[in-house]
């Protein structure tokens, strides 16, 4: 089945006084219809930037530096503004982190719903109203709130209103940027359950950016782990949690306690994420990696297949089929 979304080699640079910092480095992945893909990583790893790059919502100083984003067979990077606008919201919508910031504070919810419908050619007031009420009901909000202003709703309601807005045209793909970060745990869960229900009902695919591994484990089909702008691991969720391959992923999982199970000592990952304008030579993760080898400091590893997963780590250099078994892990493995 052709994937809904196909990203190849997508790169984004942030232009600054001292040159460019690569926030997203050559990311590639496929997304199938109805799939729930989680993108995880620490703050500053480039996951939100990746999302906006896919939706072509970057603003200066961020700039698309290369790659392609193929949606429904057309390359979005090559599209003109006009073509993009027709696509926006009808086929692909976005849910942002803070609804308080993402909703226009001076117009009512209903007016903002109507805005997007009118932008796509719907002029009939009654139809607009009917659809707006329908999507609000889908997320469990009383349609009377179409008249309300954003500051009059609670945090959870605002977030759900944003999701309702994203559903207006029953898009094929919804991009979500940490939509639950601003909510308390209970509201978080309730929101996620609702999203999954809607997904089952309407069949859209989701790319879900978050730093919260627990949400990932419960709700996603596949996970993309990012570090310093690169994808370091990509696997089906279940297998990722059972057997994480990349040392960074292992560190992430170790840092999250489980409510059940034996008490374990929590371990964080020492150090902090690198300055993107001054990346280390070799593997980006090498300064903090507990399993670092001398070869890691020399050249950055590429993304390799390990079974059904993809990993960016020299530990798995020997496991690529068809390679000479490497003796001491080192330059030889790299040159294979």
């Amino acid at each position: 089945m052709t994937p809904v979304l196909s990203v190849r080699g997508l790169s984004v640079d942030y232009l600054g006084q001292g040159g460019a910092a690569r926030a997203v480095d050559s990311v590639s992945f496929d997304l199938s219809s109805g799939e729930f893909l989680a993108v995880v990583g620490e703050s500053g790893c480039g996951k939100s930037t990746l999302l906006f790059a896919i939706a072509r919502l970057l603003s200066p100083p961020a700039e698309l530096a290369g790659g392609s984003v193929t949606f429904r067979g057309i390359n979005m990077v090559a599209m003109s503004d006009k073509q993009l606008r027709a696509l926006r919201w009808s086929a692909l919508s976005v849910v942002m982190q803070s609804a308080m910031n993402a909703l226009n504070p001076v117009t009512s919810i209903g007016a903002q719903f109507a805005d997007s419908m009118r932008a796509h050619g719907e002029r009939d007031k009654r139809k607009i109203r009917a659809r707006s009420e329908e999507v609000l009901r889908m997320v469990g909000i009383d349609p009377v709130h179409l008249r309300s202003y954003p500051h009059q709703l609670s945090g959870g309601m605002r977030q759900r209103a944003m999701i309702a807005m994203a559903l207006l045209f029953s898009p094929e793909l919804i991009l979500m940027d940490e939509p639950t970060s601003a909510l308390d745990v209970v509201a978080q869960r309730s929101l996620m359950v609702q999203v999954k229900q809607l997904q089952a009902q309407l069949g859209f695919a989701v790319i879900f950016v978050t730093h919260d591994m627990s949400l990932v484990s419960h709700f996603s089909d596949r996970v993309l782990v990012m570090y310093a702008g690169q994808v370091v691991e990509s696997q089906a969720t279940q297998r990722l949690f059972e057997a994480p391959l990349h040392p960074y992923t292992q560190g992430l999982l170790d840092a999250f306690p489980s409510v059940r199970g034996p008490k374990a000592v929590l371990e964080g990952i020492p150090g902090s994420p690198p300055d993107l304008s001054r990346l280390p030579a070799g593997c980006n993760f090498s300064p903090r990696c507990p399993k670092v080898m001398p070869a890691c400091l020399e050249e950055g590893p590429g993304l390799r297949n390990v079974g059904e997963a993809e990993v960016r780590c020299l530990l798995y250099a020997k496991q690529v089929p068809g390679r000479r078994p490497a003796a001491p892990a080192g330059e030889e493995a790299l040159r294979a």
């Binding site: 939706a55 603003s59 226009n104 504070p105 117009t107 932008a119 500051h151 009059q152």
Partner: protein
């Protein structure tokens, strides 16, 4: 409702401050300057009118300052502002009302125009950050804004009136005509108003462009603007409905505050052009030590500014639903 009451309270408080300043100032100055002025009324005015003036300025009055204060307040609030020395024996109120429409027309129209033009240019300038538009205009307006109003007025007078003879050299209308509403008269008035109006417009528009541009730039970085792009809205709609509407809000309150500066500039512009408005009259009053007229003009100017502030507050309430919550 609470918001409305608060603003009305502020209006009254400032009004009171203005009246009190008028009362206290002449008494504060060494050798009450009003004494000399009062001497010019002697023999020309007697009875209650004279007494009222004496109370207002603290001359020859045997009553305590506090009693004078309340009598003065009573007189003023009931519209008895005294008799003008400059235009003797006209009542101050009559004289003021004859000048008021000229200034309201000139300043009112040009300020609204400057605000409208400045806002639009500011929005456009922020929208296209990379153009020549944005790198040239701000410094240009910064420099223009540093020009004293009256200097531009003098330049305009020199260039357009004296040298080129395109516009008349001063006054509100040609001296020989009488005030009437004929088309001829109105056209004459407009011709006389062009240079003063343009001067005020040019000096004040810069401020609006700059603040609007700065506001727009902050607003354009907000998430809801990005969201609007994500929804596929047209650039025009985003610029006006999402960005513009939010960016203009701080300017609305600023508009009223800046009126003080506009009024100051207008006074000097009127002076340069001999334009028969409130500002020109204020300076005439000062020259003639006509303190009763001077104080009343100050009062009316303050009231005009306060009214504008109130109007802007209500416009803000209409445009920004968040303020209604506080109300």
């Amino acid at each position: 409702m609470r918001f409305v009451l608060r603003r009305l309270g502020f209006f009254l408080l400032t009004l009171w401050a203005c009246l009190t300043i008028n009362f206290v100032l002449p008494r504060l100055m060494p050798g009450n300057p009003a004494i000399a002025m009062m001497a010019r009324y002697k023999g020309k005015l007697n009875g209650t009118a004279l007494k009222a003036l004496e109370i207002a300025f603290g001359v020859n009055s045997n009553e305590s300052a506090l009693r004078q204060y309340f009598s003065y307040l009573g007189n003023t609030l009931s519209g008895h502002f005294g008799t003008s020395l400059t235009f003797f024996p006209e009542q101050v109120s009559k004289v003021v009302f004859s000048a008021l429409p000229w200034t309201l027309g000139l300043v009112g129209v040009t300020t609204v125009l400057a605000f409208a033009v400045g806002t639009l240019v500011g929005v456009g300038s922020a929208w296209r950050r990379n153009g020549a538009f944005d790198s040239l205009l701000p410094p240009l307006f910064v420099i223009l804004g540093a020009f004293p109003y009256f200097f531009l007025a003098m330049l305009a007078l020199l260039l357009f009136a004296v040298t080129l003879h395109w516009f008349p050299q001063g006054f509100g209308y040609s001296g020989t005509d009488t005030v009437s509403f004929t088309w001829h008269f109105v056209a004459d008035v407009l011709r006389h108003a062009v240079l003063p109006g343009l001067t005020i417009l040019v000096t004040s528009v810069g401020g609006w462009v700059l603040t609007m541009r700065n506001n727009m730039i902050s607003v354009l970085a907000e998430d809801y603007v990005r969201m609007a792009r994500a929804k596929g809205l047209s650039p025009a709609r985003i610029m006006f409905n999402y960005a513009g509407r939010n960016a203009v809000l701080p300017n609305l309150t600023g508009f009223a505050m800046s009126l003080g500066f506009v009024v100051s500039g207008a006074i000097l512009v009127e002076y340069v052009f001999d334009y028969p408005g409130v500002g020109y009259m204020l300076l005439q009053a000062v020259e003639n030590e006509d303190y009763a007229l001077m104080q009343t003009l100050f009062l009316f100017i303050t009231v005009a500014v306060l009214v504008a502030v109130l109007v802007m507050d209500f416009v803000t309430i209409v445009l920004d639903p968040r303020t209604r919550v506080q109300a």
